[in-house]
Amino acid sequence: MKRRVRLLAAAAGLLCASMMGTAYAQEVPAKGGTLNMIAQPEPPVLMVGLNTQGPTLYVAGQIYQSLLTYGTDLKPLPSLAKSWTVSSDGLIYTFTLQDNVKWHDGKPFSADDVVFTADKFLRESHPRWRLIATTYVDSITAPAPNQVVFKLKKPFSAFLNAFELSSFPIIPKHLYEGTDYRTNPANQTPIGTGPFKLKEWKRGSYIHLVRNEDYWKPGKPYLDELYFRIIPDSASRAVAFEKGTVDVLRGGDVEGFEVRRLIKLPDVENTTSGWEYYAPLVFMQMNQRSMPFSDKRVRQAIMHAIDRDFIVRNVFFGQGKVATGPIASTTLYYTPDVPAYPFDLPKAKKILADAGIKPSEYNIRLMPLPYGAAWDRMSEYVKQQIEQLGFKVVIQGVDAGGWSQKLADFDFDLTFNFTYQYGDPALGVARHYLSTNVIKGTPYGNNQNYVNPKVDELFALAAGAVSNDVAAKAYSEAQKIIVDEVALGWLYEMQNVTINRKKVKNLVRTGIGLNETMDEVWISK
């Protein structure tokens, strides 16, 4: 009874919050003010060309910029490139750059910087770009100071989706050319073209950015200062927001149940928008090199044995949606038309029995993803469920170091992982299913050893398609096969909630959300 009342109140609060949000949006932007945020965990480095973890992007997104950004509908939008054209054969991409852009140290920004970034810096240091560049790019040139031309070897349908901050941050050539990128002292004093400059980074405490007076968008940014605070304890982070120490909580900053509580506070609004480009999708990775997971029926049974809805509700407190397959439902080329795996323990047991598999003969090592409490709870739950089928499961506790090592060495039975979609299956999805991507030594490929030539073929077809329809058809067919064979055990699509005080305006505008340059954000007085 009590609980129901609480739920109702929450719903009412939500409704109010969204209505009021629209009402205020009409206000005239005010200049000035400080925005307090949280960087969690503390980024190791702010040089975004060397590290593209979430918190790094969050902070560095205000310092560095990329050629493009993407709307919540995943359509490309201008950033440092003000316009672009694609040739009809899909092989020539021409970008025209913004005018009067300067680096934070006063040096002018030009097409040379873009060419250096694409051809030298990222080719060496960016694990995703170097693959794209090697596979598809023929040449990168700067025919004019404000023009960059990419010539491809073969068509790549996802190419235009690969230019946001995490995939293609622009690096100042004058600071990095001819140096050892990793030990370059400039890494500690990041120089970008963005609306804010790094003033101070007190490690373990905060990162302080200040307004870039020479920013290329006239009159922007509105804000004077940004603070990204380092608060390692999640309960403390919730307290910080409650006490008004910080104004914004990014998805993952606080635990799911805290979100439920915090969005009910007055003067607070929230949105799940701003993650469309990444659309993180969580899955179980089952090593198919040996029994029991080499048998697709075992994988199917396990899918039936896990109440994914329970996980979303009780582990992640509703901040998610049960996933149906490899592609997130919010992204391009998604199809719901795949085999479903409802929670059904008896059926799971029956599948195993029919297949003649005796679960008690198998010892499964379950390696949790060492990303925090909720992930641990999920591992514990999954262990219980699999044990109900009769398997013996041992949780193998590892830290981040151990996890990536074991995964990279294929030394695991069952683990969890999640993937960013990066706007196009060719960028974020295919890598987990292609047999060519079974590469020892990296934790983010097809580590489960899923091999199906037909699927390889379909992904290749889609990636090289010039027409959207061809790609869609191929992807849809691939999804059906992959889901039937349970190449991975998809659990749920993360729905990250951004929470902020209502006085903060224009916070989430695009599909990359808080990583977006905050040159349009302002605080109402």
């Binding site: 190791p44 490690r203 302080h208 304890d233 990279a408 030594g441 934790p443």
Partner: protein, 325 residues
Amino acid sequence: MKTLDFLLQRLAKAILVVLGVVILNFMLIHMAPGDPASVLAGEAGAGDEKFIAQLRAQFGLDQPLYWQLWTYLKGVLTGDLGFSYRNQVPVMTLILDRLPATLLLTGCAFVFSLVLGILLGVIAAYRRGSVADSVVMTSALVFYATPLFWIALMSVLVFSLHLDWLPPFDMESIGANYTGWARVADIAHHLVLPTVTLGLFFTAVYTRLTRASMLEVMALDFVKTARAKGVPKAQVIRRHVLRNAILPVFTFASMQAGQLVGGAVLTETVFAWPGIGRLMFDALLQRDYPVLLGVFLVTAAVVVLVNLIADLLYRFVDPRIEAAS
């Protein structure tokens, strides 16, 4: 032995100990499974084998172990503690950045626990068998038995969330830009909870130790002499018992200095204190070996230094030592 002589000998020994700690830890840490290069690659978003090999070469991880140790030791001798794989900063910079916060916290906790512990221990010993004694000793026992992290959580719950008296995290009000005394006051305000939390366990230890030591000294002959001289009891305690009794407490406390750093790992995590305890824990999880080694090196050096200072003080306070050694 002359003090200078003693100092040189102890210094030589201290260097040996620190060196031993470095080598021990180096071996230990490199025995670990888990490869920093693959962690780095993971953080970079992904990575193929070539990419990882390239990272490995960059940080000298492809060299044989003894060679890595040799390179590291050479660096240490010139004050170079290596380069953090992950943060891409010299380890020394990283540690120097964080060390003051930890020294402040552990220093305050040390003084807090020592002063309070001795005070309570003296009271308990002086009023042996009284209600005050039972109260002090029982609470000391309770704090001795309570996990530090639990006290931390509970004190945040009570003093920050419910009563709103004290800030639950951070070292100072960020962005407030206090200067001068206002800043000192601000930091002091933030210091209270972590200091007390970290210090309580040690307070309990010192209370028990002081009481035991007091009682032991009170049973010695010279205390009887003092009483035979007609010295009032309070003065006997103050002048004769206390000095003799707290010497062993000090020695023990100086040896415990390192344990405070261990406790700081927990305290700093709960209170978002920007010190080396947290740095160590993060470095550990990320397999950032140079940072981990650096923290151990610096901690060992600090501990050895504290011990050295304690020994010197001891020689100053207790005239027998110089003659005995």
